[in-house]
């Protein structure tokens, strides 16, 4: 099998909800081994894009290829190479953490012994070992993110697609997750993550794409996209929305 140089290749991806164009002919190439950040304002279409790229939402038009396999014509093979951490979807939270990650592995037709070994390792690495036999419903938001990440990793994917992986995660856990992801890319894996925390993306990603109103406004290595500015300033430039506070004068009179 040839080893394509792009891990994720989106072409003309389009999704419309009623009158709203959520994703508008979006093109994106994520090189293999990169640590790719997607940034954009709320409602820019990040989650929709990632859902369509991972087979969770059918696009109206366009294609998504993962490691050379089309997600929508050969979903089984494509999905075997992807690990997903969606945002805003539930998980089977009446299982214990150990059961949930085991379930994720077994669903992918892995051998049970292999699954159990990896589950133990993952739970230790993510600092969940003490909580492994608690129901996930009793986990904090950050622990839930971590256990979902374990589910995404258990089958050793080549591409990780993470929607807001650092939201509600405390700094210690964030550092742990970051370490795991950096090891993953160092070993040849590819990470795509979305976030609206610019500083974070600037610090940990080597590539970045700025998405607004369903299209890619700029994409490439972080330094190239920054063009000498900080990522946040560059982002505000591209998205082009005024940040000066207008009105609300009455709010400033609260000292009387």
């Amino acid at each position: 099998m040839s080893r394509p140089e792009t891990a994720l290749r989106l072409r003309g991806l389009t999704k419309r909800f009623g009158d709203t164009m959520a994703v508008d002919h979006l093109d994106l190439d994520v090189p293999r081994g990169s640590f790719y950040g997607l940034v954009g304002p709320n409602g820019a279409g990040k989650t929709t894009t990632l859902s369509m790229a991972t087979g969770l939402m059918r696009p109206d038009a366009g294609s998504a290829e993962v490691l050379g396999t089309d997600v929508w014509t050969d979903p089984v093979q494509a999905k075997a190479g992807i690990g997903v951490l969606p945002d805003g979807l539930r998980i089977f939270d009446r299982l214990t953490g150990r059961q949930l990650v085991t379930y994720a592995g077994l669903l992918r037709a892995m051998d049970r012994r292999l699954v159990l070994d990896r589950v133990d390792e993952l739970l230790v690495a993510l600092g969940l070992a003490d909580e492994a036999d608690k129901l996930v419903i009793d986990y904090s938001a950050g622990m839930t993110k971590k256990v979902t990440l374990a589910c995404a990793l258990v089958h050793a994917p080549r591409l990780l697609v993470l929607d807001e992986p650092f939201e509600a995660v405390d700094p210690v856990s964030a550092r742990t997750i970051r370490g795991i992801l950096e090891d993953f890319t160092a070993g040849g894996g590819t990470v795509v993550l979305s976030s609206h925390v610019m500083d974070l993306v600037e610090r940990i990603c080597d590539h970045v794409a700025i998405i607004a109103r369903g299209r890619v406004r700029a994409a490439g290595p972080v330094a190239a996209v920054q063009a000498g500015l900080s990522l946040e300033d560059r982002f505000l430039d591209l998205v082009g929305e005024s940040t000066a506070v207008q009105g609300l004068a009455w709010l400033r009179t609260s000292c009387d």
Binding site: M57, P75, P86, I91, L95, Q99, T102, Y103
Partner: protein, 523 residues
Amino acid sequence: MVAHLLRLKLALLRNGLRRNVAAIVGMVAGVVYGGGLLLAAMTALVALRLQADPVLTRTAVVLGGAALTAGWGLLPVLLFGVDPTLDPARFAPFPVPVRTLALGLVLSALVGIPGLASSMLVVGTVVAGSRSAGAAVMALLGGVAGLAACVLLSRIVTAAASAVLASRRGRDVAGMGVLLLVLSLAPSASLVGQRGVDRHVLTSLADVVAWTPLGWAWAAAGDVALGHWRAALLRLLLAGGLCLALFAVWERLLASVLCSPRSTSGTDSGTRRGLGLFGRLPGSPVGAVAARAGTYWVRDPRLNLPAVMTAVLPCGLLLPGLGSRVDLALVAMPLVSAYLIGWGQHNDVGYDSTAFWMHVASGVDGLSDRLGRLFPSGLLALVCVPAYALLGPLVGGPWRLLPATLGVATALALNGFAVACVTSAVKQYAVPPPGENPFSSRPGSVGVTLAVQTLCGAAVVSLSSPALVLGVLAWTGRDWAGWLVLALGPALGAACLVTGARLGARLFTRRQADLLQDLVALR
């Protein structure tokens, strides 16, 4: 403020319908469903005015009104779930005076199909009671008081129910209470069946009910028509007093809910060592899905409450079976059990809610997903169906029908599973989200729910029709039909299940992403 709440309710209703076509279809279905009943009731009420006997009118209006009041009190909790749109707890953050909020929430409960239908029924009772001007005025006042009592009662019951159901222990107790209530309905039904419905019995029943809180408001007009002015005024006063008392209770309850808003998450906590079913069932995708489904049946009150109900419900048939020696009731036990268990699977994916993404993202094959889901209910059927089939003859039913009941019941259960395999890959309706009150429902979804349920039921029955025909032949004395269906029923059921699972698996493979987005929209 009250007008504001009414506008809010209207906006919620409209937005609920705007959200998807299915809700509109469901609403139309609900209107057609309920509209027919309403039309029949209105016609009957007009007919009551036109006939000569005021006692008959009074009996009908009193019993009907009492039933309406009881329905408002019980149905939201038992059948349709608590309407969460105007859940009092949601108003906790806003500084609204309790009395205003209490009044507004009661009035807004009238907005919607049940409120509209009940208001029309009240108009109908005014027509039925208008034998004189005085009676008409009394009917109007009584009707308004009765309607107010209905709505207040339903508000109180739902608020109290949500408070009780918020705790896991409360849920279990409530589930058992509901079960006992359902079971106690059976003997009263059989009593009525034994005695037959007698006009005199009904008249004296109405006389009794007229002096209970359920009947006060509805009996006043009838009293006037019969010339008992004093009784009528007394009942009207009592009805008015009841409304005031109910309002005071409702206000109290509301105030306490607003001061201690409950958390929405479930309180089922604790630790479970090891892997549970995941370690015992085969380590394959189908085994994993089965283990997950089985674990959920044990831990999730949305699943184990109905499961217990399904398992115990056919026992209700024992009462007519033993009390009045109705063999058919005993024979029907395994059939009802099999039907309920099989058919009950048709919305299984809906209970996953958006956690279903895990199946979609893993690319699990359709057959594993379809068959794994059947594990817990299959186990239940394996225990319940033979048990009920044997229980009937053991307590006095005819032994010669055993082969027929076993054959037909197997066919019903397997066909139910077959239909479920297909429907749970096509269209799922809204169920209470995980961790929520198992008795809550989404506004505007009752119609879709009823439509899907009816369709699934019809499909199961028509697939089972060959077995059912043979079963009827066996019932009428042809023993060969019983033995034939014992062989044919399982064979036909197995064939249907194989076909259904294959078809369902193909649909699952093609539609899984769309199914997930449906579930996201239902969230």
